[in-house]
Amino acid sequence: MSPDTWHILSVFVAFVAVLFVCGIYSILVTRNLLRTVIGIEILIKGVTLLLIVVGYITNQTGLTQSLVITIIVIEVVVMVIAGGIALSMFRNIDSIDTRNLTKLKG
């Protein structure tokens, strides 16, 4: 591929990788349910950015944009369900700290 494309792709991929590191680190380390969900959200943002960059490079922005729109719609539903579960848990134990959730261990 041409040096120019390679340059754009490399820079964006590096930053997307940084987003992934942040998201995964926060999912692994945090004990708060809502923060776990925020971690997932950061990961999804990384993926959408990567898709858009790929579309820009290969000149198929039509396709990648429609994929991204679908992803965003699905993402909202996932967030609503995750929020619902967190809230139901909160109603049960009055806290959303995962330290209290030790009954089930794999």
């Binding site: 490079i57 699905i74 369900i81 089930l104 794999g106």
Partner: protein, 480 residues
């Protein structure tokens, strides 16, 4: 008109939710039964007009063609059977009609999602339908909203989101070389750049995501929690079909028709398969909870499927698909019986059980059939699928794997017989003797168990017929 498989349930759900809700609560069960039995009938008769693509403007609305071959027939059949069993059990375990109405709606959405996964021929649509199935399963797991259920649901939601994000990442990288996301386009594009590190990374990360979805061993942490915490009707659905369609079927479809086999993928699959068989079986040996034991057993059986698929030969893959079917049947049977026992004695702790066969003869005896089929005792169905897988291993020269797989069957026998002895044989404990309510469960449980046991026996006894009618066509689609 394969698109009707997803369209009709959706319109049904919309119509049922709009007017006359009180009335609909009565009929929703029979509506779902009707839809699922129609699906069973059509999947058994392959040559009906229903499967012809491009009929009328229903299919042309979608402008895509669907994956209609023996592989999808068998998966659609499994989906319909297991959903039907789950539906029947829910009639007893969820007594409130309003709750059951919601339950059946969600079950139908999960069925739409799984049907979509099976018939789609596009990597991105696959992601969409995986997400539908996962979300409806999450809500179903959390259905009773006690703490364990919510926790299991949350774990499942987070892990399955991570899995789908890995798949999307892989799709993004694949789009660098491919002008579209349909299977054929990607398969053609991947052939152009075979040895690129980026593309190999993309494939690897996709397969990892599928392994998380399927609950294979390095990624199995969420599975026992989710199965145990879910309501009984949902654990039947999850164990019988959801993880198999989401993880295993997609892996088979994507590897065989898009990514293509190479030595690395083969050895990875076989290694993960063997690892799952052993770890699942060893963990099952130490379990004190009936549902948890069955969950680990499920991991171990999925290991056989992946092992058979990893051979890369047509026979091995056909054996793997056949084992998916058998596993759906006998694992739902065992979970139905677990649900029946849980309903009667109020817990699924194995130490509190014993001698239940005297009080629940049908549950006890069908459970024996399920156990024997899982261990692979001839002439039941489980024996034949395991035999096909082991023959395929032997033919492709993996003698070590074959031997270990046979030996692991003994481990399976050990933990399942232990379960059977603790739960159904032996003496009835004193505390249970005084339990007046301890008698055979109603037809909501026994009818599915009897039917599933009949399927297991008849597939085993009429194996030559089944081999010609189902296994050989599957073999032939993998030959190409």
């Amino acid at each position: 008109m394969p698109s009707l498989l997803v369209l009709i349930p959706l319109f049904g759900i919309i119509l049922l939710n709009l007017p006359f809700r009180r009335l609909n609560e009565k009929y929703v069960f029979w509506f779902a039964v009707f839809l699922l039995s129609v699906q069973i009938l059509f999947t058994i008769s392959h040559h009906s007009l229903f499967w012809q693509q491009g009929m009328g403007y229903i299919d042309s609305f979608f402008k895509v063609d669907f994956a209609i071959d023996s592989l999808s027939f068998i998966m659609l059949l499994c989906i319909a059977i297991v959903s039907m069993v789950s539906l029947s059990v829910s009639r007893y375990t969820i007594p409130d009609p309003r709750e059951r109405f919601k339950f059946i709606n969600l079950l139908m959405i999960a069925a739409i999602g799984m049907n979509g996964i099976v018939i789609t021929k596009d990597l991105f649509s696959l992601y969409v339908f995986l997400e539908i199935t996962a979300l409806s399963s999450v809500v179903l797991i959390a259905f009773q909203k006690d703490m364990n259920a919510l926790e299991g649901a949350f774990k499942y939601l987070i892990l399955s989101s991570i899995a789908t994000i890995m798949m999307l990442f892989s799709i993004a990288l694949i789009l660098l070389v491919s002008p579209g996301t349909s299977f054929a386009v990607i398969a053609a594009a991947l052939k152009e750049s075979p040895n690129s590190a980026v593309i190999i990374f993309a494939m690897g990360i996709f397969i990892c995501g599928l392994f998380i979805k399927g609950g294979l061993v390095p990624f199995h942490g969420w599975l026992p929690d989710a199965y145990t915490a879910a309501p009984s009707a949902v654990s039947i659905l999850l164990a019988g079909i959801v993880t198999k369609v989401c993880g295993i079927y997609t892996a088979i479809r994507v590897i065989a028709f898009v990514f293509g086999f190479n030595e690395v993928i083969k050895s990875l699959f076989m290694f993960i398969g063997l690892f799952s068989i052993l770890i699942g079986a060893l963990a099952a040996l130490g379990q004190k909870d009936l549902k948890r034991l069955l969950a680990y057993s499920s991991i171990s059986q999925v290991g056989y499927i992946i092992l058979g698929f990893g051979t890369g030969t047509a026979l091995g893959m056909a054996g793997a698909v056949f084992h998916i079917f058998n596993h759906a049947v006998f694992k739902s049977l065992l979970f139905v019986n677990a649900a029946a026992v849980e309903k009667r004695i109020g817990s699924s702790d194995l130490d509190r059980m014993g001698g239940l066969s005297y009080r629940m003869p049908i549950t006890g005896s069908t459970s024996v059939i399920g156990v024997l089929s899982t261990c692979g005792i001839p002439p039941l169905a489980g024996f034949w699928s395991k035999l096909v897988i082991i023959i395929a291993l032997w033919q492709s020269g993996h003698y070590m794997y074959g031997t270990i797989a046979v030996l692991a069957s003994i481990l399976t026998l050990a933990y399942l017989l232990l379960m059977q002895r603790k739960a159904f044989f032996g003496k009835l404990p004193k505390e249970l003797e005084n339990l007046k309510d301890l008698k055979e469960v109603g037809p909501e449980f026994t009818l599915p168990s009897i039917i599933l046991a009949m399927i297991t026996i008849s597939v085993g006894v009429f194996f030559p017929f089944v081999f010609d009618k189902f296994v050989v066509p599957i073999k032939s689609i993998f030959m190409q």
